[in-house]
């Protein structure tokens, strides 16, 4: 038992040290990142928006797309995946007015999901680059231009990835915590990893890719539920880079209820479990820089949450009077310091994003005990669903995240 405890603490601390190094690298990258420079020739870009019943948000999304300022040829494709609401009607109106906005009805097919729709979008367009935005996104006018400039000026770049900001942060406690989590993810996993290892990861939205690179990689995997993470691994394994551009920002809506949040994140976790399984079968995922991505994937989606579960068990056990085995390590203070490191990372993200406020700091202080714990439940749920579907030989269906009316619409 003592050895087990020791191994757990060792892993826990290795992870915390790794994330602390990523935090420092991320802060360094943000402080020293140079402004993008204009390029001579701006290549053609196809902007793809997969949409299934997005009537609540699609008008504001297309309005933002119409405001994009891009010096080269830009075509916006609203890929309507069998919507039964007013999505088509809204897209049709935009397409009738703006020559560069197109409403495309995607033919029905299997398996359902974003990957298949994106593959269809790629088949009907012929630009040098393509960029993906989720249907609830509102990119800032210069977001695309900044990504293209970075992709064109970075050696061996497959494209570039930008930042995702939360537009409904102030709605409730949950959205505020999601926004904070996103800030940390982008500081540590995007900026930090890029600065330390020249590794970026596709975030599913506000991501630009060179068409030829995707064709070479074989397109999107239609069975991947976390298609962005899956593609990141393949592109990195092929030796490409994905530079991170914090100045390219898009604003998106996050789940406003716990039920929808758990549903969305369970899907992401299932997608990552699928990717883990794929990685264990594919040796190319464990070579060179891809090793860092894969090992971090295992640590984040498996080990870290399991460790969190262990720490909860010990915490509850000690509260209920159960005597923990004797070991030569100050467990209590180590656990306390984990909380301090976790909280310091969140605070760093607030400082770098210039988002420090009294209320945000209060949320940061309670996130370890609240928000982080939800992931334990979600991981258990995701594993259960994944294993169940594997045994029954079923394909796990794509599950669209429900949207919410903004305050103006309500």
């Amino acid at each position: 038992m003592t050895s087990l405890l020791f191994i757990i603490m060792l892993f826990f601390w290795l992870l915390l040290i790794f994330y602390s190094v990523m935090t420092i690298s991320g802060v360094w990258y943000r402080l020293t990142s140079k402004k993008s420079v204009a390029i001579e020739h701006y290549p053609s870009v196809a902007l793809l928006i997969p949409a299934h019943n997005e009537g609540i948000v699609i008008a504001t999304t297309l309005a933002a797309m119409a405001r994009l300022e891009y010096p080269g040829k830009l075509d916006v494709y609203l890929l309507n995946d069998n919507s039964q609401d007013e999505t088509g009607e809204i897209a049709e109106e935009f397409a009738s007015i703006f020559s560069h906005i197109h409403h495309i009805r995607v033919p029905p097919g299997e398996p359902k999901g974003k990957s298949r729709v994106l593959n269809y979008g790629l088949s009907i367009s012929d630009s040098e680059y393509f960029i993906v935005y989720d249907a609830d996104n509102e990119p800032e006018p210069d977001a695309l231009r900044r990504l293209v400039e970075k992709a064109e000026t970075t050696e061996n770049a497959a494209g570039a990835v930008g930042y995702v900001k939360t537009k409904n942060t102030a709605t409730n406690t949950l959205t505020r915590m999601i926004a904070l989590e996103f800030q940390v993810f982008q500081l540590l996993m995007q900026c930090g990893r890029w600065a330390a290892f020249k590794l970026g990861s596709l975030a599913g939205t506000n991501m630009l890719l060179r068409r030829s690179v995707l064709v070479e990689a074989g397109g999107y995997d239609p069975y991947a539920l976390a298609e962005d993470a899956e593609l990141t691994i393949r592109l990195t394994a092929a030796g490409y880079r994905l530079p991170v551009v914090p100045e390219s920002r898009t604003w998106e809506q996050e789940p406003e209820t716990l039920r929808i949040f758990i549903k969305q994140r369970t899907r992401w976790l299932i997608g990552n479990i699928y990717l883990l399984e794929k990685s264990f079968h594919d040796l190319s995922h464990w070579k060179g820089r891809t090793f860092i991505l894969s090992i971090q994937h295992v640590l984040t989606y498996l080990i870290f949450i399991l460790l969190l579960l262990f720490s909860d068990v010990f915490f509850i056990a000690s509260l209920s009077g159960y005597t923990l085995p004797e070991m030569k390590a100050p467990l209590l203070i180590l656990w306390f310091m984990s909380y301090i490191v976790y909280t310091t990372q969140l605070l760093s993200a607030l400082v770098v994003d210039r988002n420090v406020s009294f209320i945000n700091i209060l949320f940061v202080l309670i996130m370890y005990f609240t928000y982080a714990q939800i992931f334990v439940i979600m991981l258990v749920r995701a594993f259960y669903m994944y294993i169940k579907n594997r045994i029954q030989k079923k394909t796990i269906a794509w599950d669209k995240t429900a949207r919410f009316k903004s305050k103006d619409q309500a």
Partner: protein, 252 residues
């Protein structure tokens, strides 16, 4: 009202936390006190960019020290709990003070931003009644586009070379006033930067310019004792944006 409440609350919490550090009977009470006191001074002096960095170093460093100490002496749960209290007292104190400093700096920055915006919105200098630099540049661009269709405009630079120790500002103000009263109020525009006065004469020719310069010379002789003009005048036809860029560089 909201700011007042937050500031009040934060100050109260900082004081309470400080009092707690002073009165607490913990293993490292004296170190807690030194860290808190020292941090008050350092965080007040440091520039805002480094305050958080300092906070993070102290919080993590002190935590590392306490963890190492517990490891070294293999301390039990009770002593570890006391160390955690030690750390919590210092961390909460630093965090509260950091938020307080941050809130104050944010307020000061907002104030500065507002002042800048007001200055930009102001069209006329309240002392001399000439145009503010921003307004001058705005109107100059408008004049430039209109002269492309009809008439011509002249950009005049008055370079004040007379450098008095005590009279510099007054001399400049006099000259600004002289120029303002020598041009046509409804058509021409004027602004100034230290040591320079710029004006644009619209829809006129060489004869018109000579008349304006003549008026300036006459008025100068009325108010100044100087035999020679304390300035040089350069003028050219106002035809393109680059001329304005140069002026903008001086006015900035």
């Amino acid at each position: 009202m909201r700011n007042q409440f937050i500031f009040g609350l934060l100050m109260l919490l900082v004081l309470l936390n400080g009092w707690w550090i002073i009165t607490a009977d913990l293993p490292f009470s004296q170190i807690d006190l030194v860290l808190a006191g020292l941090s008050l001074i350092v965080m007040t002096i440091l520039s805002s960019r480094f305050i958080f960095l300092y906070l993070a170093i102290i919080v993590l460093g002190y935590g590392g020290f306490l963890t190492g100490y517990s490891f070294w002496f293999n301390y039990t749960g009770t002593i570890q709990t006391q160390y955690i209290y030690d750390h919590l007292l210092v961390t909460s104190f630093l965090l509260l003070y950091w938020v307080l400093v941050h809130q104050m700096k944010t307020l000061a920055m907002e104030n500065k931003e507002l002042e800048k915006k007001v200055a930009k919105l102001e069209k006329i200098d309240k002392d001399t009644q000439i145009l503010t630099p921003d307004e001058f540049l705005y109107q100059a661009r408008y004049i430039l586009s209109s002269t492309k269709r009809h008439g011509e405009a002249w950009l005049v630079e008055m370079d004040i070379y007379q450098k008095g120790v005590y009279t510099q500002d007054n001399l400049q103000e006099y000259l600004e006033s002289i120029v303002l009263h020598s041009i046509r109020g409804q058509f021409d525009i004027v602004t100034a930067a230290p040591g320079k006065i710029y004006f644009i004469l619209k829809d006129t020719d060489q004869a018109g310019i000579d008349i304006v310069f003549g008026r300036i010379a006459t008025k100068r002789k009325e108010v100044l004792n100087l035999l020679e003009a304390p300035y040089d005048i350069n003028f050219e036809i106002f035809t393109d944006e680059h001329q304005l860029d140069k002026v903008e560089g001086v006015l900035a």
